[in-house]
Symmetry: C2
Subunit: 204 residues, 2 copies
């Protein structure tokens, strides 16, 4: 019923909004949805697996990929490169797999320019106080870090209106269902079904 190509989805949202939890549930429930794996130059930590958590590469290789234009987006944090290699994303899309990129709010712009039909979703905490509670539950940060994270989160939420859709993460199940609904509806967009229209009228 739809064109075969997968849908490319950007997922952003403040730290503590529950992106990872929603994505692992989403991928577990849907064979045709995958999360793009980032490439990084940082050292592999204990328990991390190359090709699952990240593609671990050295600096020269990463720089070569940037120069070749093979990175969808990349950034440098704390002396390490992080980014999304373009080739595996394009291959999955061609094979009808819907690909989710988990990306910083600032990184979303670049992707939108390269893929005009990208679907962008902002995952929103139900309230700032819920977000604060979630960050505190992790129990790994001091007061100053928590305050700083909340400040950043509020800045990011103010940019939510640059996205196409917003999902308020009240419960993981509802958020995952909303995500699935958006992908299903996007596949019904006329812009993704030009071929079907031609086929029915016989102008293939």
């Amino acid at each position: 019923m739809n064109d075969r190509k997968g849908v490319l989805v950007i997922l952003s949202g403040p730290s503590g909004s529950g992106k990872d939890t929603v994505l692992s549930e989403l991928v577990a429930r849907n064979d045709d949805i995958r999360v793009s794996i980032s490439m990084t130059t940082r050292k592999k930590r204990e328990g991390e697996i190359d090709g699952i958590h990240y593609y671990f590469v050295d600096r020269d290789y990463f720089k070569k990929k940037i120069d070749e234009g093979s990175m969808l987006e990349y950034a440098e944090y704390a002396g390490n490169y992080y980014g999304t290699p373009k080739a595996p994303v394009d291959e999955m899309l061609r094979n009808g797999i819907n690909v989710v990129l988990e990306i910083e709010v600032q990184g979303a712009d670049k992707i939108r320019r390269m893929y005009p039909d990208v679907v962008s979703i902002f995952l929103m905490p139900p309230s700032l106080s819920t977000l604060e509670a979630r960050i505190r539950t992790r129990g790994t940060e001091d007061e100053e870090t928590i305050a700083h994270r909340l400040f950043i989160a509020e800045q990011e939420i103010r940019r939510a209106d640059e996205f196409g859709y917003v999902i308020v993460n009240d419960t993981v199940t509802d958020a995952v269902e909303a995500f699935e609904t958006i992908i299903r509806a996007e596949k019904l967009k006329v812009s993704r079904n030009k071929q079907i229209i031609s086929e029915v009228t016989g102008n293939v």
Copy 2:
């Protein structure tokens, strides 16, 4: 989770695409979706009920409504006016009801200008031969009429790309589910959730 306002949906599609069947199933399954009732100056036929099948009014009343700007759209066929009164649609939308307007392909433009956030869906037969079979099953038309209807249908399908979404009506159940999916996804659009974003950041 969403703003309270209902979503306005235009449904178009060639005669024989199954609009009426899909809409009656859709409305039966969803308390929050209603189909707008048209106003007409034509005589009431046996079995038709005022306020259910149409609002039956006289010519003077209809013309007054046009002059007042109270019609969303209207047209004259075979000497009778047919149109959509604006007030009941606006009231349902305000009350959070999603309203479907079943409208000719040509009428959709006017609605888009008045309601920029209208969602437009084109209901497509799986093929022209299926459409032909459906028209023949009705058994009420001669060869010339059938050929003419198929010609018109093909012209309309060529305009499907003016719509936002396309649903291929393979089975009624799948088409109804696709319709529900589109409405649910549309309610997650950032443009319909500005208030939620403000509430979370506390800038109400």
